[in-house]
């Protein structure tokens, strides 16, 4: 038999149902001790920044932005609240947010018209993903990938230098199907939300262990910073060689190949910058908890673990920008834990059969509940200015399709959580009168004090009321 193992010979990490419990043991300790010194945002930076500073609140605390994506849209009737304004009544799907009512804005009538078929035909799932944070029309091709820089990466370019990681990209799509992707769109469109250039998607981290190690270093608590320093020293010592090697190779390559090598060169430069900047931040936080050791078998645990990592990243001010793709659009996972064994995508084309609609709605609500748990943690954690982490955050939760059954892209199901350090007005349901989603992005970018960003994607302005 074949002894050469490839992706099929699943190693230990697969069956790691373990991790979350161990991990949470550690987290619990942190939660119980909000003033736990080593998890406070860095003092170096934490010397409160003056108002109007990049990615900072008026009180000088860090201001974070996150974009969360859930697959296959949501059943519209069950999603939208009854009344607009402050005395809205939550719909069945959003019911899970009731406790967080005063911290969220349900955003109606935001559109992603670039995700419409236009002349490109089928492929609403590929577009649902790739347009979500880019707001541009993506090129229909199986190999010649072209989207746009995503809003989180636009922000990262200006505020990324403030934190150890310019941005954090997470996903729960650990297994990619092997066949071609949606309607002859390259798979890169459906598995990536973040794009650092129109041709370079930013691959998200789907292994909780690797995401944790990226933030805090490898090894046991107490050893991680030393390990990080050792690894960085090793990296630094070969960067000159590989950079030179890349330049020499570049001279031998054709234009198309150079684009590929440019990605390598960009990577080297980013690592150099990160290492150079590391000195400014002092030792990385070293949470007193075991490193999660792989991908949990249960999807619910997996999702919560990734949310925990985002929460930890914000709490330690490791980054101010995060994206999280819960599952790519068109995802066909089943939800045995809530008694739904059909595939999500299969169900989402429900043909208005009440039984199927109900199941889709239950899945939508399940996702909302996971989100609500995350928000509760964010709210329960104190930031350096005494406000909650959630208060000092702007968290967009939404999808790239509105009605998954019909593949519509207007009136997208969007929730904006957090108060943006007091600059947002949560606690209501507001309709935005059919504006592009990208207008919301610009409004958030303004709050991050980004400069020079007149337009983004298909934007037509800023949201007046957010």
């Amino acid at each position: 038999m074949n002894k050469h193992s490839t992706s099929q010979d699943r190693p230990s990490e697969r069956a790691a149902a373990f991790s979350r419990r161990h991990f949470l043991r550690g987290l619990g300790a942190c939660l119980a001790l909000p003033a736990f010194e080593s998890l406070q945002p860095l003092k170096a930076l934490g010397a409160l920044a003056p108002a109007g500073k990049l990615a900072a609140t008026a009180t000088g605390a860090p201001l974070r932005t996150a974009f969360i994506f859930f697959p296959n849209g949501a059943v519209p009737d069950a999603w939208w609240p009854e009344k607009t304004g402050a005395d809205f009544a939550f719909s069945p799907t959003l019911q899970g947010l009731e406790d967080m009512r005063s911290h969220v804005q349900v955003m109606g009538e935001l559109d992603h018209l670039c995700a419409l078929p236009g002349a490109d035909g089928g492929g609403d799932h590929a577009r649902g993903n790739a347009v979500y944070l880019t707001g541009v029309r993506i090129k229909k091709s199986a190999s010649d990938v072209h989207a746009g820089v995503s809003i989180d990466q636009v922000m990262a370019r200006q505020v990324g230098h403030l934190t150890r990681l310019p941005s954090l990209e997470l996903s729960c799509d650990n297994d990619h199907k092997s066949s071609a992707c949606d309607s002859n769109y390259a798979c890169a469109y459906q598995y990536n939300l973040s794009w650092s250039s129109p041709t370079s998607p930013v691959t998200p981290e789907s292994n909780p262990r690797l995401a944790f190690e990226r933030m805090f270093g490898v090894g046991k608590p107490g050893e991680r910073w030393a390990n990080t320093q050792r690894i960085e020293a090793e990296q630094r010592s070969i960067l000159d060689f590989v950079l030179d090697d890349a330049h020499r190779l570049n001279r031998q390559l054709a234009a198309r190949d150079r684009d590929k090598l440019d990605q390598y060169l960009t990577g080297v430069r980013e690592i150099e910058t990160r290492i150079q900047n590391a000195g400014r931040f002092g030792p990385a936080k070293d949470p007193d908890m075991a490193t999660p050791s792989g991908v949990p078998t249960s999807y619910g645990e997996y999702v919560q673990l990734m949310y925990d990592l985002m929460w930890l990243a914000f709490q330690t001010d490791s980054t101010r920008l995060a994206t999280f793709c819960l599952a790519h659009d068109g995802d066909n996972r089943s939800f045995g834990e809530i008694g739904i064994f059909e595939g999500h995508h299969d169900l989402s084309h429900h043909q208005n059969k009440p039984e199927r609609v109900k199941k889709v709605q239950e899945i939508d609500a399940w996702y909302v509940k996971q989100f609500a748990k995350f928000l509760k943690k964010m709210e329960a954690t104190k930031d350096i200015d005494g406000n909650s982490l959630l208060h000092n955050s702007m968290i967009v939760y939404g999808a790239g399709n509105a009605d998954g059954n019909r593949h519509t892209h207007n009136n997208l199901p969007i929730v904006l959580a957090g108060a943006g350090g007091g600059t947002l007005r949560p606690g209501r349901y507001i309709k935005q009168n059919s504006q592009p989603m990208t207008n919301l992005f610009l409004s958030l970018a303004d709050r991050m004090s980004l400069t020079g960003l007149e337009r983004f994607g298909d934007s037509t302005g800023r949201l007046k009321d957010v």
């Binding site: 074949n2 490839t6 992706s7 099929q8 699943r10 190693p11 230990s12 149902a17 373990f18 035909g121 492929g123 199986a142 190999s143 990938v145 799509d173 297994d175 990619h176 199907k177 092997s178 066949s179 992707c181 949606d182 390259a186 798979c187 890169a188 370079s200 998607p201 691959t203 789907s206 690797l210 090793e234 990296q235 010592s237 070969i238 590989v242 090697d245 890349a246 190779l249 031998q252 390559l253 054709a254 234009a255 198309r256 590929k260 390598y264 990577g267 980013e270 690592i271 078998t297 249960s298 066909n332 089943s334 008694g339 064994f341 059909e342 299969d346 039984e355 239950e362 609500a365 059954n405």
Partner: protein, 828 residues
């Protein structure tokens, strides 16, 4: 030169237009006019919507579609008047030569974008280069795919995060593989399986030993110390469980470790979810035998649910500590063939030798002198640091080599400065090796390339490579993607729903399920609700007991292996590729045979083997393999649409256009027919009544419905929801069938050329690492001709691909490497 090309292209265009008016248009009028001319655009296809001749001749997409449909006998439809073979051929030739601009005497090889090693290739290359098995599945993110494969240069991106992982991986791999000293403390590993209930020294067993939480056990092994001295004993184990959805196991056990009868450690374990544990014990030993014993004590007697086990990986004896007994590290000679010279100049030469050799292997072509010099400098600088050794310096340079873009990317060079030169021999060695083995070229390929003799002896090398166990990579990675066999491991299926839904719908059960979901969705249940909930759950367990089939790792693995072994069989026996469509054999083990209901073939045990199928078996061929049937299903039911699409995509090579963006309101039509629940077949029939759906679904659905006798688990069934299965159908090309067997026969008899072409396209795409373009049509046609002459033998396909111009050559672009680029040539 450029001007010259311009004239001939213009002349050819004029020629193409003339043929279009004289020969092609009359044919279109006669055979296609009713639906596709004069404003008729059935299926949104119009064959006269051109403003100019140029418009007509440059619309490659349109004519590529015409080519596919005419060759597949889909157009004109079977009921309409048919063109003669000669007429068809004339149209084909015009499309190939005039529209696509192919010059059969001078085929354009196309360009392959430089390829980054994908996860599989990286892992295999590292294994061959260093001996380390680096788990890229856990360490690297999944690769993006294009055209259905994960080796397509254009879509293999490199994000900064991945580069960082590569740097980190380089460090870890070198640290693991390359000794940093010439002498180390001796180390003896006693693998878990070498531990026994009674002392059995010298056991050759290897692997982990599983110890149950629930049963008391004592296992021992011993070690003979040659010398008295200080030793360290390290025990490594993991605490595991077998996952059972939503159910936990609260049992605990205790482990007691004794060395020479003296207790040195005592530990307790609960549910640890695969965590590793490592314990060290310092010992001062006399010369002679010493015993390590591990004892398990169950601590609880709760219900056993998850099968908790302690897995003893090994006990490792380090020592003696005294440096005079130290030994050469294992693996030392692999990287350091000689003793390190004491003399600095000789050491410099030795370092250069080692690094030149390793870099040339890693870069898959000779490393230039300048690079070797720089690597040597890197090594020497490191070796001069306090506490560092010569070996540590070399290791450091190895890290740089593994982080270099020349290792991570497969750059190719031209053998000459012609417009469409052969790729050089080193590039050819890599293309072959990554194609057939998914790894770097071995020493023989490299030395042939160095001598310039690889191309001349190509067929012998291909034979040798196919006979090598590494060729299993082709079966695994090609079928893994062409037939989606990789997805078998991850496809979501719910056996209970699938099996129970074959019976008549039970409204009572439906109601119970709905209630269960309602409770499950609630965060807090009252005591009363909790009790109800548990009752429901218990009830399900009982009713579902009948359907207690686990679609587990063993079954999935057997299904995947069936596909891979079947492919390898066709390769090694050089059988006709039509065996992929139909045969009287397959590969089974006991589990899979039982799954298929083939219980009377005397297939026992877990070993997969070649099995001759009974004469009336519906199996044989990939379309009726469990794995393929499962990955083309939804989690709870079959999907005739997905299955049909799979056949069109991967067998007939005529995928329909993507589904329309706005799914039409199927429900509206369906409302009228709601006196009973529609069967899948009825739903699809209504679907096909809508014109916008019909054009594609008439094509897909019959192919999928033909497989309805196989449920979503790939098992044979006679009923769905209590109704007998109807799998009859008629293909768009006109043939009718009564059973999956008949469909397979039709495919073999009438559609084998389409299958040859599809398989050729897939294999060529995989081999080249780029999508095929219209210009490749002639190459594919030539290979299909060769296959037809050779009765479909696999060797004709493989030889055809390897000898093809796109595989052998490249299109020179101004800056493609080589000793002298076309650009510099022009300037001179």
């Amino acid at each position: 030169m450029a001007a010259c090309l311009g004239i001939s292209a213009a002349a050819r265009a004029a020629d193409g237009a003339r043929v279009f008016h004289k020969q092609i248009q009359p044919m279109l009028v006669q055979y296609c006019g009713d639906c596709h001319l004069d404003g008729m655009k059935k299926g949104n296809v119009s064959l006269d919507d051109f403003k100019t001749d140029r418009d007509a001749l440059t619309n490659k997409d349109l004519w590529a579609m015409v080519l596919k449909n005419v060759r597949g006998n889909i157009m004109p439809p079977p009921k309409k008047e048919q063109p003669t073979a000669a007429e068809r051929e004339r149209l084909v030739q015009w499309i190939k030569f005039d529209v696509f601009g192919i010059d059969p005497r001078n085929i354009d090889p196309g360009r392959v974008t430089v390829r980054r090693l994908n996860r599989v290739e990286y892992r295999n290359t590292i294994r061959d280069l260093t001996g380390v098995d680096f788990d890229t599945d856990s360490e690297f993110p999944p690769d993006d795919t294009g055209y259905g494969f994960d080796d397509i240069g254009e879509v293999l991106n490199l994000s900064p995060m991945l580069l960082e992982k590569y740097l980190d991986a380089a460090n870890r791999i070198v640290a693991q593989a390359v000794p940093a000293q010439s002498r180390v403390m001796p180390e003896k590993i006693l693998p878990g399986r070498a531990f026994h209930a009674t002392n059995a020294p010298g056991s050759e067993a290897w692997g982990n030993l599983s110890l149950s939480y629930y049963d008391p056990a004592l296992v021992v092994n011993s070690f003979h110390a040659e010398h008295a001295g200080h030793y360290q004993v390290a025990v490594d184990l993991t605490a595991n469980e077998r996952y059972v959805e939503d159910q936990f196991d609260a049992n605990k056990c205790r482990l007691i470790v004794r060395i020479d009868g003296k207790e040195v450690g005592r530990y307790e374990y609960g549910r640890e979810s695969g965590q590793p544990f490592h314990y060290d014990y310092a010992q001062d030993w006399t010369a002679g035998d010493h015993q390590v014993a591990l004892e398990i004590e169950p601590l609880t007697h709760e219900k056993q649910i998850r099968s908790l086990t302690l897995r003893l990986v090994s006990a490792t004896i380090h020592g003696p500590a005294d440096a005079q007994y130290w030994v050469e590290p294992p693996n030392y000679r692999r990287f350091f063939p000689k003793i390190v010279p004491a003399d600095a100049a000789a050491r410099h030469i030795y370092a250069r030798e080692i690094l030149g050799d390793f870099a040339s292997k890693a870069f898959r072509r000779p490393a230039d002198a300048e690079t070797v010099e720089r690597l040597t400098a890197l090594a020497e600088n490191r070796a001069q640091e306090p506490g560092a050794t010569f070996e540590a310096g070399i290791s450091h340079a190895f890290v740089a080599i593994l982080a270099s873009p020349r290792f991570l990317y497969r750059q190719e060079h031209a053998a000459s400065t012609q417009a469409t030169p052969f790729i050089d021999e080193y590039s050819l060695a890599s293309r072959l090796s990554y194609f057939l083995w998914s790894t770097m070229p071995d020493a023989e390929l490299m030395s042939l390339a160095a001598a310039g003799k690889l191309r001349a002896g190509l067929d012998n090398q291909v034979q040798r490579m196919l006979a090598d166990p590494k060729a299993a990579a082709l079966a695994k990675n090609f079928t893994g993607q062409w037939l989606q066999a990789r997805d078998i491991d991850i496809v979501a299926v719910d056996p209970r729903t699938i099996l129970s839904s074959q019976e008549k719908k039970d409204p009572h059960a439906e109601e119970m399920r709905a209630q269960f979901r309602e409770f499950a969705a609630k965060d807090h249940l009252t005591a009363e609700e909790k009790e109800k909930f548990n009752k429901l759950r218990e009830g399900f367990r009982k009713t579902f007991g009948r359907f207690n089939l686990q679609f587990d790792y063993d079954l999935r693995t057997a299904m995947r292996q069936e596909v891979e072994l079947y492919f390898s069989h066709i390769v090694h026996e050089d059988r006709s590729v039509l065996d992929f469509l139909q045969s009287d054999y397959t590969f089974l083990n006991e589990r899979l045979a039982r799954h298929y209901g083939l219980t009377n073939l005397n297939v026992t045990g877990s070993q997969m083997r070649l099995v001759k199928l009974p004469a009336d078996s519906p199996r044989g061929g990939v379309l009726t393999m469990g794995g393929v049937l499962a990955v083309t299903s939804n989690p709870t039911r079959t999907s005739p649409v997905k299955r049909g699409l799979f056949v069109l995509d991967n067998i007939l090579g005529n995928p329909p256009p993507p589904a329309p963006p706005n799914i039409p309101a199927l429900e509206d039509i369906e409302k009228g027919a709601h006196d009973h629940d529609l069967t899948l077949r009825e739903t699809l029939a209504i679907h096909r009544e809508k014109p916008v759906c019909a054009s594609c679904h008439n094509h897909m659905d019959p192919l999928g419905l033909a497989m309805e006798n196989f449920n979503a688990l790939g098992m044979w069934r006679e009923h769905d929801h209590g109704e007998p299965i109807d799998c009859t159908g008629t293909l768009l090309s006109g043939e009718s069938f009564q059973s999956p067997r008949e469909l397979k026969q039709i495919l073999v008899a009438n559609h084998h050329l389409e299958f040859y072409r599809t398989l050729t396209e897939k294999l060529l795409t995989y081999a080249l690492g780029r999508g095929l373009e219209p210009q490749d049509t002639e190459t594919v046609d030539q290979i299909v001709d060769q296959m037809e002459k050779a009765n479909g033998r696999f060797s004709a396909l493989l030889g055809g691909v390897i000898h093809s111009i796109p595989f052998q050559k490249t299109r020179q672009s101004p800056l493609l490497g080589g000793p002298e680029t076309a650009m510099t040539k022009e300037k001179s």
